[in-house]
């Protein structure tokens, strides 16, 4: 099946710090162009380094998993045993499915070789000889770009039996998924790559000890792995200095979505003020409306109200202090004409659809919550339903194999707690107070 390739639009803002997006729009899909733009220099440098040196450089950078969990990347690599009787693997998670997250797409589309280079360096650091790049099934045109990039790297001798003439071997395989949010969870991702249903595994053992095909496995998000080459080339300290402190190093691709005047993907330093991100980078809220809520990083995160959003800084610490999460980089602005019951319902509809059904609290909880929210939005809610929904959501959180149960619970809890008044306005057969303001109108803006 032939896919039609239309380049994804790029955005820009003067406050951006372009480390991983510096080659966007520069024709870096072409391997020679990539090389001319400092490409594969970091891999050559890593070949001269000791494995521990590479890992320590990544540790010093403060790089944390960009998929959403924010685990320290260097630390993750250091968990891989030095000696292993079975092969070790690098697995790149390109099952980008967290609602509002559309950044990995741009990296694969505009800079596929940076991912290959990152995988090679990760392999050198942990002693793996094979890497897998797993892309979600919907991203077929990206798979085609990635496959070509891998083939070109083989042709240049950057992959294969003797990479860069070093006498060392490294191979990369690309792989397509077939539509499943749950597969973005690392153990479910391995199950899927092994040709099974994407059900999460019981941990421990963690992937670093027993992962893909039973071997020690590093699993990193596309953006995380693409950040590795500039770190190796310029040093961990150089990268860390872009962020506010060593635990919040560097930059990240921030996807501004929803009610922004200038939605788009921007590379912003960690610790960037959210207020500036909303009103300056994102150009504020359309139609002279006010911000009501901000989803900070994918629909699995706690939603912020306007005051919180305007005082937040976009780093791990600000959110961790509140017991919340910075998330995946997928920001959604929600304006004051939007019904929060409808938002809660749409979010829950997604998790109900994507729950794999393995754990009862998640399978039953998402279904029950969706049904209650449907009834509520239709004006047939009861007062006691409000606390009942909170009770259900609180009982899902922390009681499942993987984080999908938490992901469904957290936004729901925050919406009910912060916008309880909107739920009350739907009670006793009253129609939704916002529907007249219509999203249809907004679509025409």
């Amino acid at each position: 099946m032939k896919t039609i390739y239309t380049p994804t639009p790029l955005a820009s803002h003067p406050d951006e710090v372009r480390i991983i997006s510096k080659r966007f729009g520069q024709g870096a899909q072409d391997i020679d162009r990539y090389i001319a733009l400092d490409g594969y220099k970091a891999a050559r440098k890593a070949l001269e380094m000791q494995p521990d040196e590479i890992t320590n450089e990544v540790k010093a950078s403060g790089l944390r998993g960009r998929g959403g969990a924010g685990f320290a990347t260097g630390m993750k690599w250091s968990f891989i045993p030095k000696q292993s009787e079975v092969p070790k693997y690098i697995l790149v998670n390109g099952d980008e499915s967290e609602p509002a997250t559309c950044k990995d797409r741009l990296l694969v589309e505009y800079d596929p070789h940076s991912i290959i280079e990152g995988v090679i360096i990760a392999g050198l650091a942990v002693g793996a000889k094979t890497g897998f790049i797993y892309l979600r099934g919907e991203y077929r045109y990206l798979l085609e770009i990635m496959e070509k990039a891998v083939a070109d790297a083989y042709a240049k001798g950057f992959l294969g039996k003797n990479i860069f003439g070093s006498g060392r071997e490294f191979n990369i395989l690309t792989h397509t998924g077939a539509g499943a949010y749950e597969v973005g969870e690392e153990s479910a991702l391995m199950e899927s790559l092994e040709g099974k249903r994407g059900l999460p595994r019981l941990k421990p053992p963690f992937p670093a000890i027993k992962g893909l095909y039973g071997g020690p496995t590093v699993i990193n998000n596309v953006e995380t792995i693409a950040t590795v080459p500039p770190i190796i080339l310029n040093g961990g300290k150089w990268y860390a200095a872009f962020g506010p402190n060593e635990k919040n190093g560097g930059t990240r691709l921030t996807c501004l979505t929803g009610h922004f005047n200038k939605p788009g993907v921007y590379e912003l330093p960690l610790g960037y003020p959210a207020k500036k991100m909303i009103y300056d980078v994102g150009g504020g809220i359309p139609g002279g409306r006010q911000l009501k809520s901000l989803v900070p990083g994918g629909s699995s995160t706690f939603l912020l109200n306007r005051e919180e959003a305007e005082s937040a800084t976009m780093d791990y610490d600000w959110f961790a202090k509140r017991g919340e999460f910075l998330g995946s980089g997928g920001v959604v602005a929600i304006d004051d004409q939007t019904c929060m019951v409808r938002v809660a319902l749409r979010i829950m509809k997604f998790y109900r659809h994507e729950s794999c059904g393995w754990c009862i609290p998640c399978r039953e909880g998402t279904d029950w919550l969706e049904k209650t929210l449907v009834r509520f939005h239709a004006g047939a809610g009861m007062e006691k339903d409000i606390d009942h929904m909170l009770y259900l959501a609180n009982n899902m959180a922390g009681r499942t194999f993987c984080a999908l149960g938490d992901a469904a619970a957290f936004p729901t809890i925050s919406i009910i707690k912060k916008w309880r008044n909107e739920f009350e306005e739907h009670l006793n057969g009253k129609s939704c107070p916002f529907e007249k303001a219509g999203l249809r109108e907004l679509a025409a803006v």
């Binding site: 499915s97 997250t101 899927s192 790559l193 040709g195 999203l439 025409a444």
Partner: protein, 160 residues
Amino acid sequence: MRYSAELEQRFQKLVSQYPWKRSALIPLLLYAQDEVGYLSDEVISDIARRVDLTELEVRNVISYYSLLRTKPAGKYVVQVCTNISCMMWGAEELFEHCKHRLGVDHKQVTKDGTFSLEEVECIGACSWAPAVQVNYDFHLDVTPEKMDKILDDYGKKAGQ
């Protein structure tokens, strides 16, 4: 089961490239579906044989993944994302528009077999909402007017 020479070659490569043969299963199913249109009983039994699994094991995997289908779809599968970022820009209304325009509901096929319609979850095009995928082609910042034009274009292609 006979596939095109190109697909057969791809299959041979897939079943031999992974440490475990079974890893080829999901790509095999998706590529077969792209060519045949859906995963017929014949395709399922053929693929099961190629990766040394039972048909039941293969069906068990198929039912998990939302892109895989065991019934024929339209030549062009119109997938409208209505997840949160797209919803903010009128995706639910856009999906309603498609329903009226095509005269079919979620997961139904038009009488002439040209289109099927699906409401889908996030397709990772959130900054360019609302987003629609037709087969594997992305269409960004779609309005109802733009949608009509997109459907017209695919309709013309189907007629050729």
